[in-house]
């Protein structure tokens, strides 16, 4: 909302207060000033001047050399405009002037050899309009030397204020003035209506009927006859322009002017185009077409509130008028509509038509039902003055008895309870009065406050407390650094996620964050995705069912940038649909996942290391260590799949009890193709909720080795189909508790030495007992027993013997 300082001054005297102070005070009262345009400063060094002589530039066809009288001296100005002529009064930018909206400072200069001591400006150069066809010519009687801002009526300051949705009253000059009146304890001036009325009565020429009283509790109308359509006075056009509205004609401008002044949207009908000279407020007829002022034909539906005459629709109530009753140059007689429409009804209409107007914006936030008639009369008064009309006597004003002012009780003690400090009750009442509230009664403890119609946002005690707090200033609220509240242990639901994150960072992973909105085709592979009704585009139409696609998108992005060796992870929510329709939270599965993705080289060739590509066992190793550091790994169970499954070329699964904790593997080529990745990628997804962490379980010390352990190695040649895991499991199952660990220390394939289809695996076995020193004999017995069993069961040959 753009607020013009001189306009504010008509409602409250601010002449002794600086623009900076007003700006700061408005912001600190909740009307945030987003920018200030001070035209007086903007037009500093711009003056009105008279062109006394114009000659052709000796060296340029399109330029003229002018002698210009500034009131105190004659300057020479080179000008390129076709319309410049001797005798004209023009806008002159003198030395030192800055061209609006640029950093260009006017200096004395030579143009094609001729001295130029300033610039004669066009409206476009002054930022007043888009007209740069020629220089701006000022009225005949303009005195040379006068500051330009004064001459063109821009001797003013405009505040651009961001109005929050709860403050429709501040979408007007009087509303902003009222806050200032409370801030500065200065009276708010009201403009009395003094226009003379013609003897003819309005009832004889027009009628209003409200059928839908719920959506239109009040409708006020005034008739102005015999107007002459023309331009508005310059001052009014200037104010409209400064407030961001385009002048159209005197009648339309006046309705807009009153809206900006009082916040009440008005509509001017051409009375002669209203069939039966009648206004009927009623719902639309379903399916009818209606053409609005912007020449768009719109299809109506029955819930939309319309303004009709005796025969047809003439306006969408609160949103926009119709072409069929619009004010045109030939219009003579005007019916001014000033109504109070139901906010929700207007909002629904505006949304249905996808049409937001200055009027609908105000109606849907709530207008002042008390002020409709006054606004209509103010407009009529201006039409009498600036369009030569006669205002008929009387008015049509239908008011629903349901329109009542609200009253609210305010307990003074409650102010301190909420704000944490005391404000004297007299001062509280003064603030409320200055804001336009009516104090119906007050005692030491409380006051009964009647809320005026222009503050639809105020309904409860807390709303009044906020008014008092903001006018008294949030700065005056103390800042207390002591808190008294019962002790309660704090929980941290992010702890496990952070633990996983920190562990992976320790392994050298970079954390990534991807958009949770994804394309459906990459998500559906994992689970039934939840779709968004109103997505930005098809690539972001569903919520991610897995973090893996995000990891792959990241791989693709980085490969494209030449970063080929990646070790990345993400944690976040994954979401899928349970059942056909989402009727309750039970139909949504939302859980925390962590995703590891590795691709490229695990190590580069350096002076001390060989180059090596990431493989499945790197990923598996990261997972093993990660689980070891986050949970009890004794409950884990692994299963492996050499065949293609889902997005995997081959894969593994880790279960914790019955719950799938993790799937991991090499991503198959056909899935990588969707991301345009031509490099091998390994990925893992961990379902974090399934990590059963015994945070409270205290680890008990188990004694470290007291007695020597005995270590034995054995190597076999197997048929190459054999799996390490099977043999290791077999060894564990077939040995006594003395065997404490099995590990693989070598794996070797070589047809030349071992023969085709053969593989050598070499194991290290560690034996010990916590109670005593083992004897070589008993270990030897155990060891050779195992060798025999393995040789038999796996068709193996012991090596090295």
């Amino acid at each position: 909302m753009k607020i013009v300082l001189s306009w504010l001054n008509e409602f409250i005297d601010l002449s002794d207060i600086s623009v900076e102070t007003i700006t700061n005070d408005l912001t600190m009262a909740g009307l945030e000033v987003e920018s200030v345009t001070d035209y007086r400063k903007m037009f500093e060094n711009f003056i009105a001047a008279e062109v006394v002589q114009k000659e052709k530039h000796p060296n340029a066809d399109k330029l003229s050399v002018c002698k210009v009288n500034t009131g105190s001296e004659i300057l020479q100005i080179v000008c390129g405009a076709p319309n410049v002529a001797a005798g004209q009064k023009v806008a002159l930018a003198c030395e030192g002037a800055t061209v609006p909206d640029t950093d260009f400072v006017i200096k004395k200069t030579k143009l094609r050899g001729e001295l130029s001591q300033g610039m004669i400006c066009s409206e476009a150069e002054l930022g007043l309009s888009n007209d740069h066809s020629g220089i701006m010519v000022l009225p005949e009687g303009t005195v040379a030397g006068k500051p330009l801002a004064e001459v063109i009526g821009y001797n003013d300051v405009v505040f651009e204020i961001g109005i929050t949705p709860n403050r429709p009253d501040a979408l007007s000059h009087i509303g902003v003035a009222r806050d200032l009146s409370a801030l500065y304890s200065r009276p708010l001036k009201k403009k009395e209506i003094t226009v003379a009325r013609s003897p003819e009565k309005i009832e004889d020429v027009a009628a209003v009927e409200i059928i839908d009283k719920d959506n239109c509790p009040r409708y006020s109308a005034v008739v102005v006859r015999n107007v002459t359509i023309g331009e508005s006075p310059v001052w009014m056009k200037n104010r409209l322009k400064m407030a961001g509205m385009r002048p159209i004609n005197n009648i339309v401008d006046i309705t807009n002017y009153i809206m900006l002044e009082l916040g009440q949207p008005l509509h001017a009908f051409d009375l002669d185009n209203l069939a039966g000279k009648k206004i009927i407020v009623d719902r639309a007829t379903e399916g009818l077409k209606f053409t609005t002022l912007d020449s768009v034909e719109r299809k109506l539906k029955s819930s939309v509130l319309m303004i009709k005459d005796g025969e047809k629709d003439v306006a969408i109530a609160g949103v926009m008028g119709g072409e069929n009753s619009e004010v045109v140059p030939a219009t003579k007689n005007i019916l001014i509509e000033s109504a109070y429409f139901n906010a929700t009804s207007v909002r629904r209409s505006a949304r249905y038509f996808g049409l937001s107007t200055e009027a609908s914006y105000r109606f849907e936030r709530g207008t002042n039902h008390e002020g409709t008639l006054y606004a209509a009369l103010r407009a009529a008064e201006l039409m009498a003055e600036y369009a030569g009309g006669e205002v008929l006597s009387g008015e049509l004003d239908i008011v629903s008895p349901k329109l009542e002012l609200k009253t609210t009780e305010l307990r003074f003690s409650r102010i301190a309870r909420i704000l944490g400090y005391e404000i004297k009750s007299e001062w509280v009442l003064t603030i409320l009065k200055n804001l336009g509230m009516n104090i119906k009664s007050a005692d030491e403890e409380k006051a009964l406050v009647e809320i005026p119609g222009f503050r639809p946002d105020i309904e409860r005690e807390i709303d009044l407390i906020e008014e008092v707090a903001r006018i008294n200033g949030y700065n005056s609220i103390p800042s207390v650094d002591r808190v008294t509240s019962p002790l309660k242990s704090a929980v941290d639901e992010m702890e496990l996620q952070n633990k996983i994150r920190n562990t992976l960072i320790g392994y050298g992973f970079n954390e990534i964050m991807n958009n949770s909105l994804q394309a459906e085709d990459v998500s559906r592979v994992f689970a039934e995705p939840v779709a968004v009704m109103n997505p930005l585009n098809a690539e972001m139409s569903v919520l991610r069912t897995s973090l893996i696609p995000g990891g792959l998108a990241t791989v693709a992005h980085n490969l494209h940038n030449g970063e080929k060796n990646l070790r990345i992870f993400e944690t976040g929510h994954i979401i899928s649909k349970v059942g056909d329709q989402i009727k309750s939270f039970d139909n949504i599965s939302e859980q925390i996942a962590a995703c590891l993705t590795i691709s490229g080289k695990v190590s580069e060739k350096t002076w001390s290391s060989e180059e090596r590509e990431f493989d499945f066992h790197d990923l598996k190793g990261y997972l093993n260590s990660l689980f070891e550091s986050t949970m009890d790994i004794n409950v884990l169970r692994y299963s492996y799949h050499n065949e293609e499954r889902g997005i995997w070329q081959y894969s593994g699964e880790i279960f914790a009890g019955d719950h799938l904790l993790c799937t991991f593997g090499q991503v198959k080529d056909s899935y990588l193709q969707k991301f345009d990745i031509k490099q091998v990628v390994f990925s893992a997804e961990i379902f974090v909720n399934c990590i059963k962490r015994n945070l409270d379980k205290v680890k008990k010390y188990s004694p470290v080795l007291k007695y020597p352990k005995i270590v034995r190695d054995m190597a076999f040649v197997f048929d190459s189909g054999v799996k390490y895991g099977d043999i290791a499991d077999y060894i564990r199952k077939n040995s006594s508790p003395l065997l404490k660990s099995v590990s693989l220390f070598d794996r070797y394939e070589n047809p030349k030495t071992l023969g085709d289809g053969k593989i050598s695996l070499a194991f290290t076995l560690e034996f010990y007992d916590n109670e005593r020193t083992l004897t070589e004999e008993e270990v030897e017995r155990e060891f050779s027993g195992l060798i025999n069993k393995i040789t038999k069961n796996f068709n193996a040959v012991l090596r090295g013997n």
Partner: protein, 336 residues
């Protein structure tokens, strides 16, 4: 005989002066301390010393052997350790073998920094789902249906009743519905807005919500807590102001501004020449919110606040395009 002992000692001391290598040291040992060395020869001679002199000469000889042996050992240690230190075999300037260093995402880092400040003063950390009911996201937070306040947050809808949460405030509703006061928690999480993606806005971002509800919580405590936060996060000298604003779920509502740390309050492009940066929204929990979660607004008061993490991180680290945060270029990620 005693003279010979003294001579041997002096000779040894003269010789040892010149010894500076293992080779010379060995020569010294052979000359004096070996089986055929000077000291052994003297012990050989000692055998033929008359018995009345044996005692004095024996002591002298033993002392000589101990002294020479000790001096020899000390020098040997010195020469050996010197030899090691100057060994040319290891190039100590070769690059070290560093383990790969991972990184937390900048949003995580910023979020955790903020979370830790509030954890230290007794706030729990609570999370909630990203798909929310319209009721938890709007209705229970005092956003009436068909109210322009809903326009403040462009929403992605799942259907009529479910949506992607537009803020972390619904977690407030969940906590209060699941427990009795006092409630003291921060609620970090991802939120969504139906806004076109460009350098300044993204369709999702992260927020941290805070809530403290008890019998006598006041605006003054809200100010105290947030001032504490601002000082911890932005430094002790930070200047701040609270100005009135509007959020449906708090009343009175406020925005907290701090002095622009880019220009120090002089005014720059980032703070739109105001000298101030808006860092968070806050206010006293609206009585209607208490009513919808089943608390009695006459008995219970509380404050809530919320801040956007991306904005804070971008300002702090001079990032001008929000898309950088979600592009995951490792060259970007490794910078933080």
């Amino acid at each position: 005989m005693l003279n010979k002992i003294n001579d041997a000692k002096e000779k040894f001391l003269q010789n040892i002066e010149k010894v500076d290598s293992a080779k010379l040291l060995e020569e010294l040992r052979i000359k004096f301390l070996s089986r055929n060395g000077i000291v052994s020869m003297l012990f050989e001679e000692f055998k033929s010393v008359p018995s009345q002199e044996k005692r004095a000469i024996g002591q002298g000889l033993n002392a000589l052997r101990q002294e020479l042996q000790a001096k020899y050992e000390a020098l040997k240690t010195r020469i050996e350790s010197k030899g090691k230190a100057s060994a040319p075999e290891i190039d100590l300037t070769l690059p070290g073998r560093a383990p790969a260093q991972g990184t937390a995402h900048l949003i995580t880092q910023t979020m955790n920094e903020i979370i830790s400040i509030f954890k230290k003063i007794g706030f729990s950390v609570i999370t909630g789902p990203e798909i929310e009911s319209d009721r938890n996201n709007f209705g229970a937070l005092n956003f009436p249906e068909d109210h322009p306040a809903r326009d403040m947050q462009d929403t992605f809808f799942i259907n009529r009743d479910f949506l992607l949460r537009t803020h972390t405030s619904p977690v407030q509703v969940r906590i209060m519905e699941s427990q009795e006061p006092p409630v003291r928690a921060i609620m970090p999480g991802r939120v969504y807005r139906n806004e076109a993606i460009n350098s300044r806005s993204y369709c999702m971002f992260h927020q941290i919500e805070g809530l403290f509800v008890d019998e006598n919580v006041t605006f003054a405590e809200l100010k105290g807590t947030l001032v504490h936060f601002a000082k911890e996060f932005y430094g002790n000298n930070v200047k701040y102001k609270f100005r009135p604003s509007y959020f449906p779920f708090t009343e009175p509502s406020a925005e907290m501004d701090i002095t622009c740390f880019i220009c120090g309050g002089k005014g720059c492009r980032v703070c739109k020449h105001s000298g101030w940066l808006e860092i968070l929204g806050c206010g006293m929990v609206d009585p209607n919110v208490f009513t919808s979660v089943g608390y009695d607004p006459e008995e219970i008061t509380g404050y809530a606040f919320g801040m956007g993490i991306e904005r804070i991180a971008m300002l702090k680290h001079d990032i001008k395009d929000i898309r950088l945060l979600f592009e995951n270029d490792v060259r970007f990620l490794k910078q933080f």
